[in-house]
Symmetry: C2
Subunit: 566 residues, 2 copies
């Protein structure tokens, strides 16, 4: 993991991660050779905990575009699969970098185009379909796609021939020899690539801190079937709408056990439609029904499938629990299946949701209680095997928090790769790949995260965030003083507007004393004759009122003094 | 779990949980017989996610005290062990309910008294020491204490003889036949109680969703020893300061491998001191050193022990990582041990901390990677065994989220207890225990959670919280208009103060258009002659400015209009 010497030859390839390295999500990577840039993925990420109000985060493209001008020749954007952390930033970024050609598998293309409909002002995308074994040439790069197993169909990995050597980019993957309704991992292709002298393997690290092997979907299917077999009432299943494979499993099991499936929630309905059209979800003619139709069926004939396993406020499951759903209430005998892992940060919300489901009489099946969810990412044994199959000269962990990258690097070293051939890089770093060397450049590129909040992209910065954090802790306290310009006296009593600090109606004495202090500060300054330094007066109010309120409450609301001269 | 029939006899015992049932933490329970009340535990809880700025939550005592007057005869407060979720509310509550006598084990007493020093205005506590096998009589209740194994020494369970039958309250416990430096679970006492015709068992549910058996501390010790054996540099261990047993393990291993132990952090130092004084932590004469002394020792002679495994902002580990610690920086070769579970809600903060430790060159050992932490709570197999040993007629799960109580009730039913003998109750419910029956009363008592924020206890309510949440999402927007009383014209331009919404300097056009709208609204209302309805004008500003800002930004800052007539 040390920096190697600079490459001897002049022309080298630069690999520049703009997102996804040092975090989970927001994946975007550049491969640059003589100012020609190939982009792999363009995803969104979840806002971090100190970003209240932010909808999501996207990568910065400052490196590609400066002062309104493209700095590089962009050869194309290649997408590995249709999850939002790989495609979600497309509507925000592509128009700004000259709308380059996109290459994606059929399902991925359909999901990208569907999402693009929500952004009517963006230019029309040019997307070509690529399938496993397809080859394309983009400038100095020759790309060959191969099938990977993940938890969405049509996932690709990429074999890239470059002037400095061959690169394998795994995309997201796990090894599964018994996935349901989709082909198993194509080990033959992987092994064939292993014989082609791979210089650099860039491999998915999301599962690198998990020991052993990920569950096969076959195991998940068996456990889900147990629930279906024993359920006497309705089954209500919640998962991510992007977990197409899980959705297919639930539909298939419903058919086997004589249940109709009501698909609810916009994203779930849309994804099922797209996947059905492309043949990735198969169902019998009358299986899928509308949520309104469940009323006409006996409980044991109903599966209700929606989003909300993360406790998202507006998702189907939360609306059901809050008794706000139009067609369904929880009742005794319902079996609830949470079939997706909990995103870190959502644990408490999910717990509250689970509690409420139990209270309302349902039986809850959660992935922590039994194996009814498998992640989509290879764990240590699989990661090791991938390295052993591909047998690269150099290795670089991608996709994951730093701790995952670090642990993945250790896996590579345990496979016999010399420490100096393993590079742990993060967003914004430049990895220089030569014919015989790999190294980290001392230069870095702009890789700030860009926040999307409502219609604003990038306009929420550190100052706004810090204010939001402070406001949320102890609220705010606006003091408005009207001063008579002639006499220097405060007119009436200062107005105080406060929210999130104390309950004002019960704090009359505190407010009275605060007002008295404010009047004192202002009249002392304004009554002294001569020009008044109002900036100083406002600082005085801010500091002295702040100290006073802290002494009385041990809280520090944001204090905003306003002085109006009349 | 159904409500049984009302008891036939007149006198019955009321069991009233005020906290800890339906949540993890904030434990407090009342046993009431003819207006005599025995209290078990008085703990704090962590604030929930929708309570920004709140320090912690405590139980409400409204049921015991109304209009400043005690409603019941309080016989005493019995404490099961020294964790804050069992003792933390004492300084807030005891003075208000007549400072009743407290009964606690030696270590628990010492921790309670130490904490009380932070509250100099509270009355002096009356605490009597109780030990396993001790018996006390409080009004109609005869109490016998028994030793339990938890992750703090001196943990007690309570056998309570009441006029309606015998009750066993487990406190928090796990079964461990090989704990380190403390006696194993006293199965003989448990079995003896099992022969004494126990009417009701109230048992800790925290681990009820975990299958199998909790790890023995012996296993943890072995795994920790592996780290000590292989560490070439310093060892930096972070855990809860209340996990006295783990602290002892780390000290003992340090001695075995020739390391001195620097104890850092106020709470850690205090707890080690108390425990050493009472003999619960043993160390050789020169083992414990001051943090400043580590500079004089070679790396492989140093163990640094502090708090911060939850990523708490001001704790030792975070200060080290942020390079704010006076005596220590992370360097290559350091081994970091996270030896405590992550409290739900802290996962992302801990991940950020872990990443940063790796970045700075440390090796991180986390409880998810290897078994270097054991919870203190019995899991399903142990819970089952407890029920089988005690053989109660009735069963009531205590301590835990509703989902845990529910699952624990299922465990009891799987042991053969009839459904109607198992009561799942939550905070504020009244469980009526008769000689031959148990039931839930239709009445409930006040059991709101009381928020502590700074010096304020209970003064942060729903309104303040909702404001904090809203402020954190999209910030606030104060509009101040000065209106000439005579002409109805707006003087100057309206002042706008906004924080957490947009970056004002880059939103000049937005502000200009907002001001124009505000002037229009005010002058239309004020210029029409006659009395002006300023409440209506303010509503207009709030609504129209709100809609305008939403249309432009899709954000909804809190809008606060101020109109000043001069």
């Amino acid at each position: 993991m040390k920096k190697a010497n600079m490459p001897a030859q002049q022309k080298s390839l630069q690999i520049i991660p703009l997102g996804g390295l040092g975090e989970v999500g927001r994946n975007m990577m550049l491969l640059e050779y003589e100012d020609n840039v190939l982009i792999i993925d363009a995803g969104v990420g979840f806002p971090q905990e100190d970003m209240p109000g932010v909808d999501f985060i996207i990568p910065s493209i400052d490196y590609l575009k400066k002062g309104g001008k493209l700095q590089k020749k962009i050869l194309g954007l290649v997408i590995t699969h249709g999850h939002y952390d790989h495609i979600g930033a497309i509507p925000y970024l592509l128009g700004k970098i000259g709308n380059p050609h996109v290459f994606a598998s059929p399902l991925t293309k359909a999901i990208i185009l569907r999402r693009q409909e929500d952004f009517p002002n963006q230019p029309k995308l040019n997307i070509s379909i690529v399938n496993p074994k397809d080859k394309i040439e983009l400038g100095p790069f020759k790309l060959e796609f191969f099938a990977q197993v993940h938890n969405i169909p049509d996932t690709l990995g990429i074999f890239i021939s470059t002037p400095v050597g061959n690169i394998v980019h795994t995309g997201d993957f796990k090894f599964d020899q018994n996935p349901i309704y989709s082909p198993p991992t194509d080990f033959a292709s992987l092994e064939e690539m292993g014989k082609r002298n791979v210089s650099l393997l860039m491999s998915d690290s999301t599962g690198a801190e998990e020991f052993g092997h990920s569950f096969s979907e076959e195991v998940i299917m068996k456990n889900l079937e147990e629930i279906f077999k024993n359920a006497k009432g309705r089954i209500i299943a919640a998962t991510f709408s992007s977990l197409i494979n899980r959705v297919q499993q639930i539909i298939a099991l419903s058919e086997k056990y004589g249940r109709k499936v009501a698909i609810d929630g916009y994203s779930m309905r849309t994804n099922v439609e797209i996947s059905k059209k492309l043949g990735y979800i198969k169902s019998q003619k009358n299986t899928l029904i509308k949520p309104a139709q469940i009323a006409d069926l006996p409980d044991q004939k109903v599966t209700f499938l929606g989003t909300g396993a993360q406790g998202e406020e507006s998702a189907v499951l939360m609306r059901i629990v809050n008794r706000e759903h139009r067609f369904i209430r929880i009742k005794k005998g319902d079996s609830i299946i949470f079939s997706s892992s909990v995103i870190p940060g959502n644990e408490r919300t999910v717990q509250v949701l689970k509690d409420e489901l139990y209270r309302q009489g349902a039986k809850v099946f959660h992935y922590k209680m039994m194996d009814i969810h498998a992640g989509g990412h290879a764990q240590r044994d699989e990661l090791k095997r991938m390295i052993e199959i591909i047998r690269p000269k150099f290795f670089m962990p991608i996709h994951g928090q730093f701790s995952m990258l670090f642990n993945h690097a250790e896996v590579a070293e345990s496979c016999g790769l010399p420490k100096e051939n393993v590079i742990v890089a993060e967003n914004g770093q430049i990895i220089i790949l030569g014919q015989k060397s790999i190294s980290l450049s001392k230069r870095t590129v702009e890789s700030n995260l860009v926040m999307v909040d409502g219609l604003g992209v990038g306009d929420v910065g550190e100052v706004v965030l810090r204010d939001r954090q402070n406001l949320s802790k102890d609220g705010m306290f606006v003091v408005i003083v009207v001063v008579d310009r002639m006499t220097g006296k405060v007119r009436n009593s200062p107005d105080i507007i406060s929210r999130g600090f104390v309950y004002l109606k019960e704090s009359k004495e505190l407010l009275y004393n605060t007002r008295k202090r404010v009047v004192g500060i202002v009249e002392k300054a304004a009554g002294s004759g001569g020009a008044v330094n109002w900036i100083y007066v406002k600082d005085e109010i801010r500091n002295k009122v702040g100290d006073f309120l802290y002494a009385k409450t041990e809280r520090r609301p944001m204090i905003l003094p306003v002085v109006i001269e009349v």
